[in-house]
């Protein structure tokens, strides 16, 4: 199964994933340019991604913790998610997303 990732330089990548993978781990291991400083505890917002509109509804809803933490993401919008909070499954094969912009 694959993710379609647009990185910070607008380059397109296809990245493999397996059932039950955490999106943040997949992006980090593929060097897609996310920091994920807290290692997946939903306390730092440095694994911020924008999920393409058509795929948003296929993800589990956003939790209060994640919504709160998005306050510390750079330029969040309605498509923003923290990739550490997304567990992937078969229904996400082909999901399109863009890596969020970085802080200085």
């Amino acid at each position: 199964m694959k993710l379609i990732v647009t990185d910070i330089d607008k380059t397109l990548h296809e990245v493999d994933f397996k059932e039950d993978d955490i999106l943040m781990h997949v992006l980090r291991d593929a060097n897609m340019g996310i920091l994920a400083e807290c290692g997946g505890s939903c306390v730092c917002a440095t694994c911020h991604v924008y999920v393409d509109q058509e795929w948003l509804s296929k993800l589990d809803g956003i939790g209060d913790d994640e919504e709160d933490m998005l306050d510390e993401a750079y330029e969040p919008n309605g498509n923003s998610r923290l990739s550490c909070q997304i567990q992937l499954s078969e229904s996400h094969d082909g999901i399109k997303l863009t890596i969020g912009p970085k802080w200085d």
Partner: protein, 341 residues
């Protein structure tokens, strides 16, 4: 306190691993000074997740970051560590033969036999938004912390963020500022409800403003901010202001560590797993900041690394002594050190 300190060990980083290193070093009779860029002990546990439960600390089925920090502080108390908060080690010079001299941002100098880098993900720094042109205003019109409240008297302030720092400074600076406008991306806040309701009362009374939106552009000349463009759901508003205070939390930077001529692997310091020595004898590294084959970034791994480091540091600084492993259950010598004899 004097600006010149002599000690056996300087530990850089007061996170859980740095704190436990005080204990392991203390058992071997080595005294430590501990520095941290934060204003309190606990590192990530204190700064990022004080209230979040941790489930993988041996013998603690569940413990919060804050409780773990408090317990460690209690455990290391007998060894009388000296803490230096809000300070950053900028330079390390010297060698294991001559000893090391450390200089800090606050102008302190440490003379030490060994150095232990337990700096986690690096030093915490405020997150700086990459708003076009912002660099030209840093330190003159844009501030990421309030050092002197008075410098904001009579100013037209734009405060950005929805956490405790943003709300606290709105409430704190509102009485002395010419005007305070809070900008946040949504009408919900992470800050404590009490601050939020105080802020909303001020807004109702017309004493400050709140805008749901994001700052997208800064305008001004010569470091002097004149206005900011705020993108809202509907459109963009240009607001006059002369100070911008963004509060988006902290991020970790490797910082000066990268200039210390240590062998690195990316942002991690390479160590020998028998001693946790870096490529420079006398400088050790433990916890999240180091790397070696099989490394796991776990607090419990950092504790183990601290114990091995302490024995290696003792052997290095006291070559004439044989370092023997003693048990805290039975050693009278250790009981004396722990103050339980």
């Amino acid at each position: 306190m004097s600006n010149r300190v002599e000690t056996d060990v300087v530990i850089i980083g007061a996170g859980p691993v740095g704190l436990f290193a005080v204990f392991e070093l203390g058992l071997l009779g080595l005294n430590a000074h501990v520095l941290d860029v934060l204003d309190k002990p606990g590192g990530q546990c204190a700064e990022l997740y004080p209230e979040k439960p941790i489930y993988d600390i041996p013998a603690w089925p569940v413990i919060s970051g804050k409780d773990l920090t408090d317990r460690l502080l209690e455990q290391i108390k007998p060894f009388l560590p000296t803490f230096h908060f809000n300070d950053l080690v900028t330079g390390i010079e010297g060698s294991v033969e001559k000893g090391f001299t450390l200089s800090t941002e606050c102008g302190k100098t440490f003379f030490t036999k060994v150095v232990v880098i337990a700096a986690g993900g690096g030093s915490f720094q405020p997150k700086r938004p990459s708003i076009p042109g912002i660099a030209g205003f840093n330190g003159t019109s844009v501030f990421y912390a309030v050092r002197e409240r008075e410098t904001f008297r009579g100013k037209d302030l734009l405060i950005v963020g929805g956490g405790d720092s943003a709300l606290d400074w709105c409430l704190n600076l509102q009485p002395i500022a010419k005007r305070v406008t809070l900008v946040h991306r949504r009408d919900n806040f992470r800050a404590v409800p009490n601050s939020v309701s105080k802020m909303k009362t001020l807004v109702r009374q017309g004493k400050m403003d709140f805008i749901v939106g994001q700052v997208s552009k800064l305008c001004g000349t010569g470091g002097q901010l004149q206005s900011a463009v705020i993108k809202t759901k509907e459109d963009a508003i240009e607001m006059t202001c002369d100070r911008l205070l963004p509060f988006f939390g902290l991020t970790m930077k490797l910082g000066p560590v990268s200039d210390w001529d240590l062998e690195l692997d990316g942002n991690q310091i390479k160590v020998d797993t028998a001693t946790f020595s870096t490529s420079k004898p006398g400088i050790f590294s433990i916890g999240d900041i180091n790397t070696y084959p099989g490394k796991l970034k776990l607090i419990l791994s950092g504790f183990h690394e601290g114990a091995l480091m302490a024995h290696a540091a003792k052997a290095l600084t006291h070559p004439e002594e044989r370092v023997v492993l003693q048990y805290t259950t039975s050693s009278k010598n250790l009981h004396k050190k722990l103050g339980v004899a």
